[in-house]
Amino acid sequence: MSRVRRTAVRRLRALPCAAWPLVALLPGSCGDAPPGAASSDDHAPRSREPLFVEHAGAVDFTPQWGGSGRKHLTEITGGGVALFDADGDGDLDLFLPQGAALPGFVGSADFRDRLFRNDGDWRFTDVTDASGVSDAGRGIDDYTYAAACPDFDGDGDQDLYLCNVGRNRFLRNDGGRFVDATAEWGGDSSGWSTAAAFFDPDRDGDLDLYVVNYVDEDYAHPGCGPLERGPEYRSFCHPDEFPPADDALYRNEGGRLVDVTRAAGIAGSGGAGLGAVLSDYDGDGDVDLFVANDSTPNFLWRNEARAAGELALREVAGEAFVAVDRSGLSTAAMGCDFGDLDGDLDFDLLVTNLDLEENTLYRNLGDGLFEDRSSASGLGPPSFLWVGFGAEFFDGDLDGDLDLLVANGHVCDNIHLLEPTQTFRQPPHWYVNDSTGRFTQRGAEIGGYFAGRYVGRGVAIGDLDDDGDADAVVAHWERGPALLENRTRRAGAGPAWLGIELVGSGGNRSALGAHVTIEAGGWRQVEEVRGTSSYGAFHDLRLLFALRGAAAAERVTVRWPDGRSSEHGPLVAGRYHRLAIP
């Protein structure tokens, strides 16, 4: 819609308007009282229990991005976050990636990637050194953007794959201690990696890997901007200034990831990728992959394999109408997530964008087609001013539909010099779904965190306190993460819920790509096990459902990633159920 609006403003000045300067001299002709200019009642906090409470200081962490004033693009977009059970004790631990010294960096900083053990009751202990997760932070091979945490070797614990600006690393989890297994397992993509999606596109029972790469930044020529106005105007270059870096695809061949990028037709695709999310968007029983590309058309890799063992991904974003937004042009896509927003049992798609571009909501029409519903969904207009990064759909209020959390933060730390009405720090957004796919933005009334401004980046969702509602961790560029406790089910009260943990087999024990349908009280919901989604984030692999008052889910149907399916039930409300592949 923004194109319409701006074009209209631009072109209508040309119309004859000899009279309009006089208008300012005329009083209001109808005698109506003019609307108030600054009524802020709509956003006033309401006196009720906040939905989210931030546990400030729960982790001792200050991110380091290794900048020097040269304004390398690398240093401004970091801020990933991963939630996974690192020590096998059943709760979610927290991994926070860090940068490294970029060219020009002077001095010292603690660049270690960090792992924080969940000790319960919102207390976390730094176990970085003991766990062996960290690197030396010496250069771009140690500059970590994001992590993915599959159980790659099927031994029952989650391993750790690190997306670096340089060579990626794969750490094997040996009982809570991480050992570099890159030489053995492969997957050492050397581009600027921003996301890693583990899934089983060839349905042979093990995990393959798609690595999202961004651009080939030229460190010899850092920084852009109107420098004739002064050195303080040096800013970060638009990514279009650099060639996009090809994504990479690795096929699992007997426990080793082999690069099949060229053979699979991934090479030369030309996208500047920042986010990725899995989904069986077309409902044909296999897993597809969406990649959010910054200022280049997005990718939608449709899985067209016809038999187990066949690897056939075809790029169909243009055909599906998710390559660009409704303006017909690409957006600065960053975060992305799928979710059934309107209860029609297929997955709609959100992409977050730069300021002066609305976030884009694509409604899944079925038959492989999407339609841009950004405006009608209520998600587009409120996002126009802000730079959206991480964004996740989850049922925050446990009313049975998916709400949305978006982390905002600009990509220029001196944007106030370049445009005085823009800001580096920006407010996070929480949107409540009315169950039909129409959203309303909420502010400080849902928690004090939402009254502040931050340079938001990744958002990871998980039940950190195992109480049956989804908590959130928002990573920031300029400060430690916000750990947001969901109070919907505080002290055991609150809506009925059902938790599901899937246990796959063999090389996909994490059941990444599994599709779950629950039926409760005559009503159905769908979800998928994705792990990676949105921007630099890895999430709780357990699935949470609200039961809308039902005491149990009568039936739960699981479509496993290898094509098998199983039915379970009834499953009683109020606990997690562990379902294993038959």
């Binding site: 194109r3 631009r10 309009w20 901007g225 058309p297 823009q422």
Partner: protein, 413 residues
């Protein structure tokens, strides 16, 4: 013309990409722009910001109105000459002289809205808010504030402002801002789920003729999107067809037509429209310096568009223009000749062919081609001659005096 003019022209040519284009202007470095970076780490972030939608403002005080009016008239004259930088500076000077001169403040606000760049919407909003502080019943300021808030996503507060403005007869009847206000209200209705209201609002705006073709096309595409959401695919396609008549190279129109064709099961049409969309997108989508310098890429895309869509005269003309811009005169002649073979001697094609000959230095051939130009008014003929000879002067490196001599020779009967 200021150094920023090319970027501004680009912004005006493709306003949806204002952000990206201005980013290119602001951030799009030439490699020679680098300065020595400050030592040490990335600087600490800026101080806390206030919401630009609600930043506190003080009521403007009356100043030297007479001096301000003089500056205001100069600003208006600059605006009429399309000198936007000059107009903006003069409006700002007028407001320095008299901060309560709403004439200047409103004009400045609308100019900023028109420029549509990064930060411009917020600055426009500030001016309209100040104008309303100076005169609470200023309907034009309410209109501007409503438009700015709509642009900034503040729909709740935009709507009553626009409704208030449209109750003012002068604003309502004014063909520029009145139409804008109606379209903005329609877009708000759409965003708030009132599809019927939005459709009616855009229809109302379309009836406020005469609209520039591009604006009318955008209103029609907005209607088409709403009709598509409602499932009225045939009606939506009809709107898109009309929009593409008005703005054939609008990527949004081709994307929407492809989508409608796909939904109606017309795979062939969908594929055609997708290919056209992709070429037009690629032509408009990338604004970084490395793309702007890549003339070969533009030519390649332009050639592909003509091959894909030979019926589109605008595409042929754009390709010929690009070839002429790159001094590829023989290729330009070839493209124009092919078009003339199928379309006949259109004046546009005759002038292009004459320019190609002139650019190559063959003025005799240029004049021979030019002789086929159908009879037209002396002003039009002179403009065409100037185009041809300007190509000759630029490509052959001729002086102003040589140009003047040749102009005189061509002007003889």
């Amino acid at each position: 013309m200021s150094a920023a003019a090319p970027a501004r022209r680009a912004v005006r040519a493709a306003p949806r990409r204002a952000a990206a284009l201005l980013a290119a202007a602001l951030f799009g470095c030439s490699r020679g722009e680098e300065a020595a970076p400050a030592a040490g780490r990335t600087p600490a972030p800026l101080p806390d910001e206030t919401s630009l939608l609600d930043a506190p403002l003080e009521r403007p005080q009356r100043g030297d109105t007479a001096s301000a009016l003089v500056l205001y008239r100069q600003a208006r004259a600059a605006l009429d000459r399309d000198e936007l930088d000059g107009a903006q500076s003069l409006f700002e000077a007028a407001l320095q002289a008299d901060p309560a001169l709403n004439l200047a403040r409103n004009d400045l606000g609308f100019l900023l809205l028109e420029r549509a760049g990064r930060g411009a919407f917020g600055e426009a909003l500030r001016h309209f808010r100040l104008a309303r502080l100076a005169a609470a019943d200023d309907a034009l300021a309410a209109c501007g504030e409503g438009l700015a808030r709509r642009e900034l996503g503040d729909l709740e507060r935009a709507r009553p402002l626009l409704e208030f403005a449209l109750r003012d007869l002068a604003v309502s009847a004014e063909p520029g801002r009145g139409t804008l206000a109606r379209a903005a209200l329609a877009s708000i209705a759409a965003a708030q789920g009132d599809v019927e209201g939005a459709l009616a609002g855009y229809a109302d705006a379309l009836e406020r003729a005469p609209l520039p073709p591009g604006t009318a096309a955008h209103f029609r595409l907005a209607r088409a999107e709403l009709l598509q959401e409602r499932g009225a695919l045939e009606a939506a396609a009809s709107e898109v067809e009309q929009a593409l008549q008005l703005a054939p190279e609008e990527p949004r129109g081709h994307l929407l037509m492809a989508q409608l064709a796909a939904r109606r099961g017309d795979g062939e049409r969908a594929a055609v429209e997708r290919r056209r969309h992709e070429l037009l997108r690629a032509l408009q989508d990338h604004t970084a310096l490395r793309f702007r310098r890549d003339a070969a890429r533009t030519l390649e895309l332009r050639r592909a568009l003509v091959a894909e869509w030979p019926d589109h005269l605008g595409g042929v003309v754009a390709l010929a223009e690009e070839l002429l811009a790159q001094r590829q005169h023989a290729d330009a002649l070839q493209v124009v000749a092919a078009a003339r073979a199928t379309r006949g001697a259109l004046p546009l094609l005759i002038v292009l062919a004459a320019r190609a000959h002139a650019g190559a230095g063959d003025l005799a051939a240029a004049r021979q081609v030019f002789a086929a130009l159908p009879p037209c008014g002396p002003a039009e003929r002179l403009a065409a001659v100037r185009l041809v000879l300007a190509q000759w002067q630029r490509d052959q490196g001729k002086s102003a005096a040589e140009l003047a001599r040749e102009l005189a020779a061509w002007s003889e009967p």
